[in-house]
Subunit: 242 residues, 2 copies
């Protein structure tokens, strides 16, 4: 794990790193020492590890005492896009333009990325927990939209993750992974989501095997999750990982 | 307004009162002085002002600095049941036993009670805000199930109410009142509610005209709202009335 920069502001330290070919960012409380809960923060499709919503959320969590790590998903952000992925992405755009079922198209894209994304997260989790200011504490995962689509197979495969904030995605291609998830889940739905039909969102919430799961639905489109849900999710993680 | 008893424990003062023929309870922080936000707390059908869930919620709100007032709904608790109400209640039970639509039956019952309940709440609100330890501060309403069914016409009619926690009820008979409500609403749904079909709950949430409204859905039956929703609703009221 190779750190490439470190800055601190407003009580939060931000460190960019590479783990092999995976570019990432770690946020911790300034002058943090010793073990603390860690949140893995997945980004949305076409976005990257330092998308504004990600950074704002990460800094709020870190200001609350958490360590937070984000990485670029395969073929996103600072990672190379190979030709095969370019063809898949072009196929997705063409399918959407042609009026094909967005749920199926998006699920196909996520299915291509998931095996690599799961392996990346597992390696990053192990590496980050070796740092003195993180340690082997309880772990949560937070990801919406593509971050949910790549997070579900990760959480299903990874017993170290003990709570998750997910949402903004439908059930397409994810029912089996959801049925293997038993940790507490907060699941966000945008009531007027132009990308995810409401019934497919509700079906994904239904499919989670967790006995403690709460759906939060707010008016507005895919990108309109209200800011108070970020603070609410921080309290959710504090309750389950604190 | 005639107070009949006063006790204090765990930092909360509980005072029973009568306002004309309306029996009620007021909870305030012990030794409270001056104006504070007030929560009107409606109880469920067949229950009463000091049902255990009501008292527990009221004490948590009051410990957080709120004044909380609960009254017995018409024909409930310490209030007389007249013969007409007895016939209506028997008709509801018979209809449920005969497999009639519970939404329509329950809406009929709530429709009978609502005009009296709205007038009672308006009188109690005015009287309670004259007390030194309450004052004319911001007001919220909290009620589930029948407390929601009687609360919606109240909130639609009462501009002093600025935020509400509602839920555990379907849209039957309430769409017009819901369309007149514009204050922030937290709306609770029990995902496996044996009394309220899920689609009718979602339709009532849909019908609210509020631009800020959040639906929280949790697994379990009508009576299984998790305790963390009580603390979450206290923060909701603090955000909007604090």
């Amino acid at each position: 794990m190779r750190f490439t920069s470190q800055t601190s502001s407003d009580g939060v330290t931000e460190q960019f790193f590479h783990l092999d070919e995976i570019p990432g960012v770690l946020w911790t409380p300034e002058d943090a020492r010793g073990t603390r809960p860690l949140i893995l923060l997945g980004h949305g499709g076409g976005q990257h590890k330092t998308a504004p919503g990600n950074v704002s959320r990460a800094r709020r969590y870190a200001a609350g005492g958490f360590a937070v790590v984000a990485i670029d998903a395969p073929h996103h952000g600072d990672r190379p896009q190979d030709d095969e992925f370019g063809r898949i992405a072009a196929g997705l755009r063409a399918g959407l333009a042609a009026g094909e079922d967005p749920g199926a198209l998006v699920a196909g894209m996520h299915g291509c990325l998931a095996p690599r994304a799961v392996a990346d997260w597992q390696a990053v989790l192990t590496a980050v927990q070796r740092l003195d200011q993180v340690g082997v504490g309880p772990v949560g995962y937070c990801g919406m939209s593509m971050g949910c689509g790549l997070g579900l197979p990760l959480i299903a495969a990874e017993p170290r993750i003990r709570a998750a904030v997910l949402g903004l995605l439908g059930v397409h291609g994810l029912a089996e992974d959801a049925a293997r998830i038993t940790v507490p889940v907060r699941f966000l739905v945008q009531w007027d989501d132009q990308l995810v039909p409401r019934d497919q969102s509700l079906a994904l919430f239904d499919a989670l095997a967790s006995t403690e799961k709460t759906l939060h639905a707010n008016p507005g489109g895919h990108g309109d999750v209200p800011l108070f849900e970020v603070d609410s999710s921080r309290r959710f993680f504090a309750r389950h990982l604190g």
